[in-house]
């Protein structure tokens, strides 16, 4: 279980393929963040819609 890399800079450089490796891992991270935020917003909106519906009925 020894680490493959001799240094952090070697790790970040990814043998000259840093751009391609980090664009891939970064995109996955970004996608997860976007999904988490959109899930939170969707729940918030659904709860607001329940309130709206209840207020409408109270008015009638």
């Amino acid at each position: 279980m020894t680490l493959w890399w001799s240094s952090w800079s070697a790790f970040w450089a990814m043998g000259g393929h840093a751009f391609f490796v980090w664009m891939s891992f970064g995109a996955l991270l970004a996608a997860i963040v976007v999904e988490m935020v959109s899930l939170r917003l969707r729940r918030k909106r659904a709860l607001a819609a329940i309130e709206e519906e209840r207020d409408l009925e109270a008015e009638n």
Binding site: L3, W4, V21, F25, A27, L39, R43, A46, I50
Partner: protein, 242 residues
């Protein structure tokens, strides 16, 4: 135990809320372990160099993109045959996460392909059928939301999802059926040709993706239940809706 107890949106809402955090915790622990193996410990690939490390997310997301479509199609089948409400809600909840994984599989494949094949994209059978999968997810989501009556949307979209299942074997076998630029599988049911650390890392990352997908689906299905049942008394009685 009554297995149909949780088939009602009202009871499943609570269960999903209690389960979801545990799946996210499992996903995070597995991701930490898998990334440690894949990015830290695994040796470099003799032919591809370090860029091969993209496979630690490319393969798990590609597997999940197909697996989630299959699970979604199963829920769609239940919806059409038994007209069950929760199954339709589950299918709707899976679709965006499935589309996300499909997009990431295409994206990471593209960034792996550029240094390895010399191109970001090629109209090869594997890549094209995976792109069709992304459009199937989009089509499902669009059709499900295209109707005034959500239950008509459920059924129309379910039919589309079931027809789209034919694309799954096309993706899976494309590397055998056609002469593709995409390589054949390194891992199959018959065994593997991979280094053991690479294989372990990839499998751990796959389990992480799976657990994440379950967590995200459970959280989303709760929102879908709230949207669809907003006039129901049990929803109005929820502490979070007060």
């Amino acid at each position: 135990m009554n297995w149909f107890y949780f088939a009602s949106p009202a009871t499943f809402y609570g269960l999903a809320g209690r389960l979801a955090p545990w799946f996210f915790i499992l996903a995070a622990v597995l991701a930490a372990w898998g990334l440690y193996l894949g990015l830290g410990v695994a040796p470099t690939d003799a032919q591809q160099g370090e860029v091969y490390r993209v496979i630690f997310i490319h393969v798990p997301t590609a597997w999940m993109s197909m697996f989630l479509y299959f699970v979604m199609a199963c829920y769609c089948g239940l919806t059409l045959v038994f007209n069950t409400r929760l199954s339709a809600m589950m299918a709707r909840a899976i679709a965006p996460t499935g589309a996300m994984f499909t997009f990431i599989a295409l994206w990471t494949g593209s960034f792996w392909g550029r240094p390895t094949w010399g191109t970001y994209w090629v109209w090869d059978a594997r890549l094209t059928s995976e792109l069709v999968l992304l459009f199937l997810y989009f089509g499902y989501i669009a059709l499900a939301n295209a109707f005034e009556d959500p239950r008509r949307g459920d059924r129309a979209a379910a039919l589309l999802a079931l027809i789209g299942v034919v694309n799954l074997p096309i993706i899976y076998f494309s590397v055998q059926w056609w002469n593709t630029l995409h390589q054949g599988s390194s891992v199959s049911f018959k065994g593997t040709s991979m280094h053991v650390t690479m294989l372990t890392g990839m499998l751990v990352m796959s389990f992480s993706a799976w657990m994440y997908a379950i967590g995200a689906t459970l959280v989303r299905v709760r929102a879908v239940i709230l949207e669809r049942e907003r006039r129901a008394q049990w929803v109005r009685n929820l502490p979070e809706a007060a």
